[in-house]
């Protein structure tokens, strides 16, 4: 074993002197002929994979690096974030993360989370989809106002979801909390489409999904979009009111909606390893800005059903800092209570 560990040590030494030398060169020179690993936390074929495979060649063109897409499924994307967060800080591991489960996983202390989003360097945001509340046609409700009125009469509303903090369920939970409704969240469905089937069947009052899914599910009226859970309208469903337009949100209730909307703002974001030299982070941010604001790429993406909603790395970083920067411990435990236990 001795000679091997000596070899490894030597390799490390050589490696670290190389990185030291690299820091002297400009970041642009560094990336030429390097290999960037663009990591996604899901298997091939899904939305994240498709985004990554769309961006990889373009990033390669802009940086001169070879960009390889790597699928590392597991733990709802959390495992791969852990790996990138603890990788070598050379700026060659870049990951497209799903902001909602990552942020909520961190807030709720999910068992596998071993990163702090506020410590990760953000390189930009590829897309962010607003969340929309749908009512089942079978439930008889056609607006959020009806639902709130029924809730005030003591009726229990139910919403279907997957896990507790991966999108549909937590959106429903913050709506219930902000409007002070009596709710039962039915979780455990295998995918959001299966959860939607429960809503179509009338097993539950409704469910929350991204605006894209909301548009698809509401095609034939078996599910009715009743409110966007945020301040801005959805581009895909321009006629659907925001929750603030649909009903009077109590003053202290607005916190919950704003909190959820700011998490949505992280969106499908690009991160790299903490400790990466600043010049490389800046360089990658610039490169992604170039790629994601290229009108040709935006068009190709839209044609493939992958809408682009770019935000700069600095902006996403600011959003993350805002979410995690001023959360006092008692608010944090209140959030955990609402998301994890109150409505189950």
């Amino acid at each position: 074993m001795k000679p091997i560990s000596a070899l490894i040590a030597a390799a490390f030494l050589a490696g670290s002197s190389l990185t030291a030398a690299a820091a002297d060169e400009s970041a642009a020179d560094y990336y030429k002929n390097e290999t960037i690993h663009l990591i996604v936390g899901t298997g091939p074929g899904g939305g994240f994979d498709q985004y990554a495979r769309l961006l990889a060649p373009e990033l390669g063109k802009v940086t001169g690096a070879t960009v390889v897409v790597e699928n590392r499924p597991g733990g709802g994307g959390i495992t791969a974030i852990n790996q990138v967060a603890s990788a070598e800080a050379d700026g060659l591991s870049v990951m497209l993360i799903n902001g909602v489960p990552a942020a909520l996983g961190q807030i709720t202390d999910a068992p596998a989370v071993r990163f702090k989003l506020q410590d990760l360097p953000f390189l930009g945001r590829v897309a962010a989809e607003p969340w929309v509340l749908l009512a089942s046609k079978e439930s008889g409700y056609t607006s959020l106002k009806d639902m709130v009125a029924a809730g005030k009469d003591g009726k229990t509303l139910s919403f279907s979801g997957l896990g507790r903090v991966d999108g549909p369920t937590d959106t429903a939970a913050v709506v219930c909390e902000s409007l002070q409704l009596k709710c039962n969240l039915v979780v455990g469905f295998k995918g959001s489409s299966e959860a939607s089937l429960a809503a179509i069947r009338g097993d539950v009052t409704g469910m929350a999904v991204t605006d894209r899914s909301a548009r698809d599910y509401s095609q034939d009226g078996s599910l009715v979009p009743i409110a966007v859970i945020g301040h801005k309208h959805s581009k895909l469903l321009p006629d659907v009111p925001t929750i603030f337009e649909a009903v009077d949100v109590p003053q202290d209730g607005a916190f919950w909606i704003d909190f959820r909307a700011s998490i949505v703002d992280i969106g499908r974001a690009l991160i790299t390893t903490p400790g990466t030299p600043d010049d490389r982070i800046e360089y990658l941010r610039g490169a992604f800005e170039k790629v994601l604001s290229d009108p040709e790429l935006v068009k190709t993406a839209e044609d493939r059903g992958l809408p682009i909603d770019y935000a700069s790395g600095a902006d996403v970083q600011a959003t993350v800092d805002k979410i995690f920067g001023n959360l006092p411990e008692d608010k944090l435990s209140e959030i955990r209570n609402v998301l994890l236990s109150k409505y189950f």
Binding site: P44, R164, V186, V187, G188, G191, D303
Partner: protein, 491 residues
């Protein structure tokens, strides 16, 4: 409908579509033949190729590759004793004893013919159900899915040979290891020992490969060689196999129907179809004890059902955009790539595409079986390869398959762990198929019971379909005893 059918027919015969099918067919069969590479992997590998294809040709391309995987896998299951893809695991139970008795060719012939008939049956079911699909699927909610999964579990003791007690024990062990990872409803992690990999639970492909491939490879490596077909020429045996299928049409149709139904219901998981079909065949047979000793019915039932289930699985995918199997989930992704949105309005707007997919499904199942039948005499020569060459090659392939599903070395590690479990099962006579069935169905039972209780309370049990399912379960459990008693009485 007829107009749409005609237009679907003419679409299917377009050169682009024919070309797509011709390209995808061998790829799908190859993924089936190679252990560990599943339909899911085939689809994931092929998806990038559909960019830029014409919409329908792209779908035909993916569907073809996916639909024929289990046809290819049946040959590996019988000749090598290693399921080519997880749904072929049930075929091993009777396929291997048949091969050892020198009837490998007959078993392959029967498996391929049953696959073709099952595939066509599945396509027909899809065709017939297309207009009335919505209500059919809506009838099966969480309570019904729970009871269907439970029904699958009642077959545990009936899968394969050996003592029912040991079958139950193996099944219980399968259920137990399915508990590892996040609990499906509460999200509480169980038995994960601070080891991230376990949070998602154990994976199906390493489990299936470990249980079936490793013991077979160990046996080969430790001096055993594959039994040679003796007596009849392979060609004659293959033909006998085909004949055997057509003289048991009742069994074939019933198994296909089981496959279709399980495919249609989104929650149950297509992997269970062949096991349930096998167990149902055994339960309804006059001499259930023959099963597992190498009888042709034990090959026909699972193979008919696993090709039929793909037709069934297309149903919820097209009508609700809710995939009926993991492969269909990827197909759904491809629909979106091609700018088509499956869902409530899909069949209204694109009935010709829906019908075209039905046609493709029927045609490729027959083509795949034909191609495999033609190739089998060649493939059967694999048994002449000396083990010292064959074992390393197959082991590499199997581990590559385990690795490629998630690009994760830990899957390879667990293939060996389950390999040890598989060896122990073989040594002590525990039923590996029951273990696998328990593993697949355990989480479904747990998940849908909790959801059903949450929505309806305990009263879900008196929903009409639930009552029917309970009655069926009781009959299935009691039937062997009852028929035995009835037979004894006149004597």
């Amino acid at each position: 409908m007829w107009d749409a059918l005609l237009s679907a027919g003419s679409q299917t015969l377009q050169p682009g579509v024919v070309w797509a099918v011709v390209c995808a067919l061998p790829v799908g069969l190859l993924f089936g033949l190679l252990p560990g590479l599943s339909g899911l992997t085939a689809m994931a590998v092929l998806i990038p190729f559909v960019y830029g294809m014409d919409g329908f040709a792209g779908l035909a391309f993916l569907l073809t590759a996916h639909a024929v995987v289990s046809t290819g896998g049946s040959v590996t299951a019988i000749l090598l004793g290693i399921p080519g893809s997880p749904p072929n695991a049930a075929t091993v139970v009777d396929g291997v004893p048949l091969r050892n008795a020198g009837f490998g060719g007959t078993a392959v012939g029967a498996a391929l013919t049953a696959s073709a008939v099952g595939g066509v049956f599945g396509a027909l079911v899809l065709l017939v159900l297309l207009p009335v699909l919505r209500p059919v699927i809506l009838m099966f909610g969480p309570p019904e899915t729970f009871l269907l999964s439970l029904m699958g579990l009642t077959f545990l003791a009936a899968v394969g040979a050996g003592s029912p007690a040991k079958g139950l024990f193996a099944g219980a062990f399968g259920i137990f290891i399915s508990f590892i990872g996040y609990e499906p409803v509460s999200g509480v992690p169980r038995y994960w020992f601070d080891y991230d990999y376990l949070l998602d639970g154990l994976r199906l492909i390493p489990l299936a490969l470990g249980l079936f491939a490793i013991p077979e490879l160990v046996a080969l490596a430790s001096g055993g060689s594959l039994e040679q077909s003796k007596g009849d020429l392979p060609g004659k045996q293959l033909f006998d196999g085909c004949k055997a299928v057509f003289s048991r049409m009742g069994l074939v149709l019933r198994s296909s129907a089981i496959g279709s139904i399980i495919g249609i219901i989104p929650g149950v998981g297509g992997e269970t179809a062949p096991f349930v079909a096998y167990a149902a065949a055994r339960q309804s047979d006059k001499n259930p004890e023959r099963y597992g000793t190498g009888i042709i019915e034990g090959v026909i039932a699972p193979e008919a059902s696993n090709n039929a289930k793909e037709g069934g699985a297309l149903v919820p995918t097209l009508v609700f955009g809710v995939p009926g199997s993991s492969g269909m989930a990827l197909l759904l992704g491809a629909f979106l790539v091609l700018g088509l949105q499956p869902g409530p309005n899909f069949l209204r707007d694109h009935l010709d595409i829906g019908l075209g997919l039905v046609l493709i499904l029927a045609v490729v199942n027959v083509l795949a079986a034909g191609l495999m039948l033609a190739l089998t005499p060649l493939l059967a020569r694999v048994v002449n390869v000396p083990p010292r060459l064959l074992v390393p090659f197959l082991l590499t392939l199997a581990l590559l398959g385990a690795y490629s599903t998630e690009n994760n070395m830990q899957d390879v590690l667990f293939t060996f762990v389950f390999g040890a479990v598989g060896l122990a099962c073989v040594r002590f006579g525990f039923n590996r198929a029951a273990l696998l069935l328990g593993f697949v169905l355990g989480p479904a039972v747990e998940r849908y019971l909790e959801i059903a209780l949450n929505i309806y309370g305990p009263a879900f049990i008196v929903r009409p379909i639930c009552l029917i399912l309970i009655a069926l379960m009781v009959i299935a459990l009691a039937a062997p005893k009852l028929t035995a008693r009835l037979r004894r009485r006149p004597a």
